[in-house]
Amino acid sequence: MTTLDPKPTDTPSDGGTVTPSRSTGTNATRVIGIAAAVAMAWLVLFALVISPADVNQGESVRLLYIHVPTIWVAYLSFVVTAVASGIYLFTKKHSLGWDRLAGASAEFGVAFVGLTLIVGSLWGRLTWGVFWQWDARLTTTALLFVAYIGYLAVRRLGGSHQQRAKRSAVVGLLSVLLIPLVHWSVVIWRSLHQTASIANTEGDIKMDGTMLFTLFVGVVAFSLLYVWLVMHRTRAMAMEDMLEDRGLDVALAERRAEGAGR
């Protein structure tokens, strides 16, 4: 981090303006971004037009194509957080890049779980007549949400970057253990939430081929979106950290000047 740029410390005036690149985009992200947009359009087409309405649920079943992909991508992002945290902790180098990946991934994971909660409760309103049920899966999902809000709170505790990285890596590695709990909560409890209706074809949503394919499109679309967002966010975080280091140069110059003034 200190090797960014051999800028002399005695020119504070241009601190913070010289950044290696002004945008967080690269060719790779552009391609992924376009792919994500295309997949989204495709998803809209399939979800709203091509796939059929459900026998039991009617048109509201179309919420499935957001509901399930978002939570799966959220799982994915928390797993990525855990893996990146692990790599950060267990490699000798303790590279902050992994820490930033973990942080960025968790931020979008929280956003996606939030989306699941919102869409799920709207759906619940349509099918169950209420926004919320004390159902095992819903409860555990809410817990997952809170646990990662806690993770983000730990990241904001302050201290040096390495300190932030260490603390949050531990929390990130342990919080991922909640995912199996969420996933198997339906088995653990006697629950009214949908049991695994995709893996085995029982349950009250009969998955026909189009529906399955639409779901697949949804998963692809949201995954691409996730990758695109995380790539941008990690770069932005790198720049934030870098700016902070620049800020340090300025502050150092000020501090030394204060001494000279005496």
Partner: protein, 228 residues
């Protein structure tokens, strides 16, 4: 320096400290939220039971949050001997009580509104229009009562060692009447169970009496309590 002016100075300072540290939004609120979810787990996702006790749970979560808020409000004073400094400066004890209580009321009200919104979603509550007045009155009077009790015992426990644990011990039993009254009043306001609106107003008067008793009693007792 009049009691009111001292109260205003202190409340402003407290709210400013809270605003700086954002403890409510960043931590107390999520805590209250987790508490409610955890209740859901402990009650075994028994939906019928939950719906029945939802208003109770909101107030229970409020009370746990009250404990956190009071503890913080007084650890701010005790950490570096500020409470002693106030006593030496001869700051009017009633003013201190008033100021700390006002600070708590504001924070609690913010919290309750948010919790109530959460409860409406989580527990499937709906608000009747004619219940709104009752609801608001209940919240205000219950909150004043809670803040008065919290301030009184917070001041008593402040500075004594083991205050983290002395505070709940004193506060929880004392606010039990508020818990019951507010729960019933909210039930009437929301129309849960068989409760009537008029019944709710009876509970509100109980809450008001409670708030007045603890408010006046607290203001009078606060000086001797924190002194010596």
């Amino acid at each position: 320096m009049s009691t009111w002016r001292v109260g205003w100075l202190i409340a402003r300072k407290d709210l400013r400290i809270e605003w700086r540290s954002r403890v409510i939004t960043n931590q107390v609120l999520p805590f209250a939220f987790v508490t409610m979810v955890i209740f859901g787990i402990a009650l075994d996702a028994n939906t019928d039971v939950l719906e029945l006790v939802a208003p109770g749970l909101v107030w229970l979560a409020t009370m746990f949050s009250l404990l956190l808020l009071v503890q913080r409000a007084f650890s701010v004073e005790a950490d570096d001997g500020a409470l002693d400094a106030m006593r030496v400066a001869g700051v009017d004890a009633r003013g201190i009580f008033l100021g700390k209580a006002i600070g708590l009321v504001v924070q609690l009200l913010v919290l309750e509104v948010l919790l109530l919104c959460a409860a409406m979603v989580l527990y499937g509550e709906t608000i009747r229009l004619d219940g709104v007045v009752l609801l608001v009155t209940t919240m205000v009077s219950a909150t004043c009562g809670l803040a008065a009790v919290g301030t009184l015992y917070g001041g008593l426990a402040a500075g004594s060692k083991g205050r983290e644990t002395l505070l709940p011990l004193l506060t929880l039993p004392a606010v039990a009447p508020v818990l019951i009254g507010a729960t019933r009043a909210v039930e009437s306001a929301l129309g849960t169970g068989v409760a009537e609106l008029s019944e709710g107003w009876q509970w509100v008067s109980l809450l008001t009496v409670f708030a007045v008793v603890f408010g006046v009693g607290g203001a009078l007792a606060f000086g001797p309590l924190i002194d010596e």
